[in-house]
Symmetry: D2
Subunit: 147 residues, 4 copies
């Protein structure tokens, strides 16, 4: 797949630097290519819920933003990505030192992309699939810069 914006890498990197909530949580870009993206999150105590496992909200955040970044990699420079909706299945209790997420565009489109994310927990060298998201990402015209 040829990315419509040759500078898509910078667009994705900027989205991670400028999204306050991602920096705040500690989610970092691992790698990105045309149609996919990978991210990591070192898990801290503040990411947990009352039962001691990683909060569904943390898993949703990494899965959603990584899916959005995968969508950005297939989006022309004059357009941007906004989440329309997603569904996430929490498959197993999320426990471990870090989360790793890989998102792939299942079906790119003119007005929206369908994207899947898988979230893995890394615990003492073992990698477990803990959640899976499927999202609809809208492709919208950027408000013109010169306005």
């Amino acid at each position: 797949m040829t990315p419509p914006d040759p500078d898509y890498r910078q667009v994705v990197e900027r989205s991670f630097q400028e999204a306050a909530f991602l920096s705040d949580l500690g989610i970092r870009l691992h790698d990105v290519g045309p149609g996919w993206c990978e991210t990591v999150l070192p898990v801290a105590r503040r990411h947990l819920q009352h039962t001691g496992i990683i909060h569904a909200g943390v898993q949703s955040t990494i899965a959603d933003h990584t899916a959005g970044a995968a969508a950005m990699s297939l989006t022309p420079a004059h357009e941007y990505i906004l989440t329309v909706e997603f569904k996430i299945h929490l498959l197993r209790p999320g426990k471990g030192e870090s989360l790793f997420c890989r998102a792939e565009v299942l079906k790119p489109g003119r007005h929206f992309h369908v994207v899947e994310s898988q979230v893995y927990a890394l615990d003492d060298g073992k990698r477990t699939l803990v959640s899976k998201l499927v999202a609809t990402m809208a492709v919208l015209a950027r408000p013109s810069a010169e306005a």
Copy 2:
């Protein structure tokens, strides 16, 4: 609806106190009754995404946890609640001083409850519906306390 656990209020309050991620974000319990729950979040810069609106991950976190708390209010004392899956629609850009969320149990069940959450942004006295979640919440046996 008669709550099967007369002390459900404490169970819900404890879930907010003990969930590190909720305290960290600043999400607070507003009120709770049998089959419903309401929460608030004063919005800060760190909750935003790169386009300046409230991150989908923040909206998912408040919507999911409030839904879980509504489910807890209908759950016997020897059982607890875990999110199986949810779908969230981001209906409008989330902007404002605070988020308000109300969750209601659509259908209680023996092994899982179906719960809906609506998230509103409060901006300069105006209240706007910004997202809507529908979740399946599993009802699980608590690991026995005496073990």
Copy 3:
């Protein structure tokens, strides 16, 4: 809400007449207005599944098409509606003489509408909510008639 196409009623009626699968199942338009639609299905033995209740596929069909028709009622004449995705919760076993479905547009949009459907079973005068759907409906340009 003023419908952008004053002839939306005919568009919706035609969608029911021309959709072979709907006629085949027996799903009929009950009523339609700007932003909503109602339909009915007299239940026959062939709509059931092996456990004797109305098949999830039948409930999905009526819920999806009624949601699409509600979306059509808010769509200009030169555009049409296509389902992007939907999620349906089967809340209670579907039993009875007929199904009644009401769909409402939760959020109309330029490129897609978010629509909800509720499906009720009518059994001996009693009406029970049996399933609930939330869908994303794409608004697409009609291939020009003169081409």
Copy 4:
């Protein structure tokens, strides 16, 4: 994966024979193994919608029932499967002589299984992925036969 019910094949075959709606549509079991199931549907004019493509309701029916059958293959003899909810993405217009569906259990569980289905259209020797479903399937105790 060892199937908990060695006679799971008969259970699945029976579900196809006894589900009136499946026979009525023409959906047939192709093959089944522990954790997966495959089905086919020869497409007829009555399966179409008003725009000439295969109705979303038909795609939902084959995707849901095949997912349920994959879940049955991992379910003990004294329990049965009921769909809690599913989400389906209609990725491309469904056109062709037949549909082929493969479902796989993503995560088996004690009280519910998470299952994915992919639906392909076969058109003049070409196979295209047209829709994808992710479902929660409840595992319920069979009403005792001797009652």
